[in-house]
């Protein structure tokens, strides 16, 4: 890691929970964007954004997938905001063993928002017409840190789950087959 200060574009999605109508269009669009080929299949369960919904309590929180975590938090926290109760993990974006949010439904591999890489405006923002999600870019001075790619995140999860030896063996076996 270099530790050198660098100018960096920070992409930001602003969330206004008051404007969210709970339509989950963001989930649909995100899952389609990441299908291959693009938009060939749809599945909100694969989306990297999920709307935490509790209708009777009027709770609507669009939440984007953050880092993978190997272990769940020790202890929980709950929030009460303007008279509304938010469940323990409502605002936590982690792909975490305590819940099935932000995991590929089949493999269980973690999902993480990639800000739709090449797209000018992230897809979830594009389809969110009620304006709960808006997009901003700004410049910031930052320490230059390498960001782990998708393969790295996936591998990390496999390492946590199965241990290094098993992953190594499987890798060796599979690459021989190729």
């Amino acid at each position: 890691m270099s530790g050198q200060a660098k100018k960096k574009i920070v992409k930001e999605i602003k969330v206004d929970v008051e404007k969210c109508i709970g339509c989950r269009a963001c989930e649909v669009a995100c899952s389609g964007f990441h299908a291959s080929p693009k938009y060939s299949s749809f599945n909100p369960a694969r989306s990297r954004i999920r709307v935490v919904l509790d209708l009777p309590s009027d709770v609507y929180v669009p939440l984007r997938a953050g880092e993978y975590t190997a272990a769940e938090c020790t202890g929980r926290q709950t929030f009460r905001i303007n008279g509304k109760n938010y469940s323990e993990c409502s605002f936590c974006p982690a792909s975490c063993p305590s819940r099935d949010l932000f995991k590929e439904p089949d493999s269980g591999l973690p999902l993480k928002c990639d800000m739709c890489e090449d797209e000018k405006i992230p897809m979830c923002v594009q389809v969110c017409r009620p304006g709960a999600l808006t997009y901003e870019e700004r410049e910031e001075e930052r320490d230059d840190e390498p960001t782990p790619g998708e393969v790295e995140i996936g591998l990390q999860a496999l390492l946590h789950r199965h241990g290094a030896q098993k992953v190594k063996d499987t890798f060796a076996r599979l690459s021989q087959g190729e």
Partner: protein, 659 residues
């Protein structure tokens, strides 16, 4: 690979507890698309007229639409189809929300339920894992509570639940099936209750594939915007500035309840507020002395609109979440406000209370309020007395609450009322029949019109969906007086085939439409609903929303492209109409087989001024001829054969219905 659809039905036999995943024939998609159309085909094939609606052999079908699970915005309306115990005829109703798309992601296009469970159960679906679970602990709970309890029990907040309330359990004909903030009406809940099925809870995590990804998504992305910007779609009633038309023209139950007709004012509309002032009394120490002081305080609590909420993948916000005084939160289903206008009370809190009561019991707002006002009219006429209505409250709201409870629990007079107004009138006798305004034994939207309106009459009398609000919507209800505005309307009217534009241009206020136009309009209106219900598009974005402003986001001329891009099925406007025609013929044939005749095709009593029986018959003749039916209203052999329904023709001939 099958696009847009899963290619599987879930067959559930409640008697034996048997569950099967059954592959469906791909050819059927080209013939019926899916949704309600596919359900009608199942009902034709598997529920012959000998089967009583309360028989275990009756089917209850939950259909996701063909486009559910694709990115097509607003494709989320689930259809529930069965044979109605109230009418002994085909019934289909639907709810929007999230259920259909979730079902598709679980890997099924439909759930087909047969048999009866010996004890209350609910169906839990998680992809390939499907089980019937005990529902004894859910008995008597409202649909919303049931949904919350099941989510808790299964530790899965993302379950989508459709459930019945107390009314459905008690086999009340006005029972709804509720899901999230919406419900299916016209009595489908009674069959679910009869089958002992309290709820269905589904969670799906599978992909839905589409045929032409990039093109489809581009269109969908533009459609989100179109729907969001279009003021004429969604529950326009909810945001409309002036409801005086509805309040004036819909026979208000409020009249019979002692409510005020024509109470609607602009100020009321703007505020739509419930304010409760209550006296609170408490004690406090007076000046640190030993004296306790009594303190009286007026506490004001006001209703608040929390937010408008949408359905799956739709940018409209038809469902108002409101806070009511007394720590209560409440969802207005879309079009609740119509029922609200029907209840028509000057005191708005009562209207909410009435709606809330119906939602808690799982009662259909429209049919139930009609049963309530029917009972009150009978009491006024001396047909119902204190003997049938013991301890009847003196005030309107009290009476409404009293009757709702009786109906939902089928106690006392409620037992007759819970069979629907028509059968109740027959059971009560003593001239009660004169107060019945049903058509084909089912309650109708109680409009009061000055004169016979040709398309209205035809839709009331012949409608496959048995309710005018499920049929009307593509052709405007009223002409435009100003010629320039009229021309501008037509110029922008992409939804309409050319001939409708000409009829509309020539339509002057106060004038009747020509008969040939009226039959075509009634047909087109119904066809568009049929198309929506096959693909699962919300009618508030499509078939119901052309009548005001003429610019529904979806219509005859753009729907086919969405279907083609999603499914790979080549389809144009003509093809879509042909499929709708086929599906509607099946419904017609099911009902003909169950005994509907020309004599049943009437206007509700009191729909319009002085009766014009001859004109009505002339209209029916013209409509039957237009649809390719014989003089009895049965589809002719050529019509059936022409749409590939030879098997229907043969069956009808064998039964002597088609001569």
């Amino acid at each position: 690979m099958r696009y847009a659809e899963t290619g599987f039905d879930l067959e559930v036999d409640l008697t034996r507890g048997n569950i099967e995943r059954v592959a469906t024939a791909p050819e059927l998609t080209a013939l019926h698309l899916g949704g309600e159309g596919a359900a009608a085909k199942e009902l034709w094939d598997r529920v012959p007229p000998e089967v009583d609606p309360f028989s275990p052999r009756n089917l209850l079908i939950f259909s996701a639409g063909l486009l559910h699970g694709t990115p097509v915005p607003g494709a989320n309306r689930t259809c529930v189809s069965t044979i109605s115990p109230q009418t002994n005829l085909y019934v289909t109703s639907g709810f929007t929300g999230f259920f259909g798309p979730e079902l598709k992601h679980a890997g099924y296009d439909r759930i087909i339920i047969r048999g009866k469970s010996p004890s209350p159960v609910y169906l839990h679906i998680r992809n390939d894992k499907v089980e019937l679970r005990d529902a004894t602990h859910l008995v008597g709970k409202s649909a919303l509570e049931t949904s919350a309890l099941i989510k808790d029990e299964m530790k899965e907040a993302k379950l989508q639940v459709a459930a019945i309330g107390l009314a459905g359990e008690n086999r009340v004909c006005q029972a709804t099936i509720d899901h999230a903030n919406t419900s299916a009406s016209r009595g489908v809940g009674v069959v679910m209750g009869d089958k002992g099925l309290k709820a269905i809870a589904v969670r799906g995590t599978k992909d839905i594939n589409v045929a032409r990804p990039a093109e489809l998504f581009e269109r969908c992305n533009a459609m989100y915007q179109e729907i969001y910007d279009n003021p004429r779609c969604g529950d326009a009633f909810l945001s409309e500035a002036d409801d005086s038309w509805q309040v004036k023209n819909i026979a208000a139950a409020g009249g019979a309840l002692g409510g005020v007709k024509g109470f609607w004012t602009k100020e009321l509309q703007d505020e739509w507020t419930v304010r409760v002032e209550s006296e609170h009394m408490h004690f406090q120490w007076e000046n640190y002395s030993q004296q306790m002081e009594e303190v009286h305080e007026t506490v004001v609590d006001e209703s608040k609109r929390l937010r408008g909420t949408g359905c799956f993948n739709c940018t409209k916000n038809c469902h108002e979440a409101v806070y009511l005084p007394g720590q209560r939160q409440y969802f207005l289903k879309s079009y609740s406000k119509l029922a609200y206008a029907t209840a028509a009370y000057a005191d708005l809190k009562i209207n909410y209370d009435v709606l809330f009561g119906m939602q808690e019991y799982g009662l259909d707002e429209s049919a139930t309020l009609q049963a309530v006002s029917f009972a009150l009219e009978l009491r006024q006429a001396g047909i119902l007395t204190d003997a049938e209505l013991p301890d009847f409250p003196a005030d309107g709201p009290g009476r409404c609450g009293y009757l709702l409870e009786k109906i939902a629990t089928r106690q006392g007079i409620g037992d007759a009322l819970a069979d629907g107004v028509h059968l109740a009138a027959a059971r009560i006798g003593k001239g009660a029949e004169a107060f019945d305004r049903s058509v084909k034994k089912i309650e109708q939207l109680p409009l009061n019109e000055e004169q016979l309106d040709y398309p209205h009459f035809l839709m009331y009398a012949t409608g496959a969906k048995m309710g005018i609000t499920q049929i009307e919507g593509s052709f405007p209800q009223f002409p435009i007086a100003d010629k320039q505005q009229r021309a501008a309307f037509v110029a922008a009217w992409d939804a309409a085939p050319e001939r409708f534009k000409i009829w509309f241009l020539e339509w002057e206020p106060g004038a009747q439409l020509p008969v040939e136009a009226a039959v075509d309009i009634a047909d087109w209106n119904e066809a568009m609903h049929s198309a929506d219900d096959a693909i699962g598009i919300c009618p508030l974005l499509s078939s119901f929303r052309g009548q005001f402003g003429g610019r529904p986001p979806y219509h005859l001329h753009n729907l086919p492209a969405f279907i083609t891009l999603a499914t790979g099925l080549e389809l144009d406007a003509e093809g879509l109409l042909e499929i709708a025609k086929r599906n509607r013929l099946l419904v017609r044939a099911i009902n003909a087989r169950r005994g509907v005749t020309r004599g049943d095709e009437q206007a509700p009593a009191g729909l319009y001024g002085k009766g014009e029986p001859e004109t009505e018959q002339r209209l029916l003749d013209a409509y039957y001829a237009f649809r390719g039916w014989n003089g009895d209203g049965v589809p002719s052999a050529e019509t059936l054969d022409g749409l590939g329904l030879r098997y229907v023709r043969e069956d009808l001939a064998q039964r002597g219905i088609l001569k």
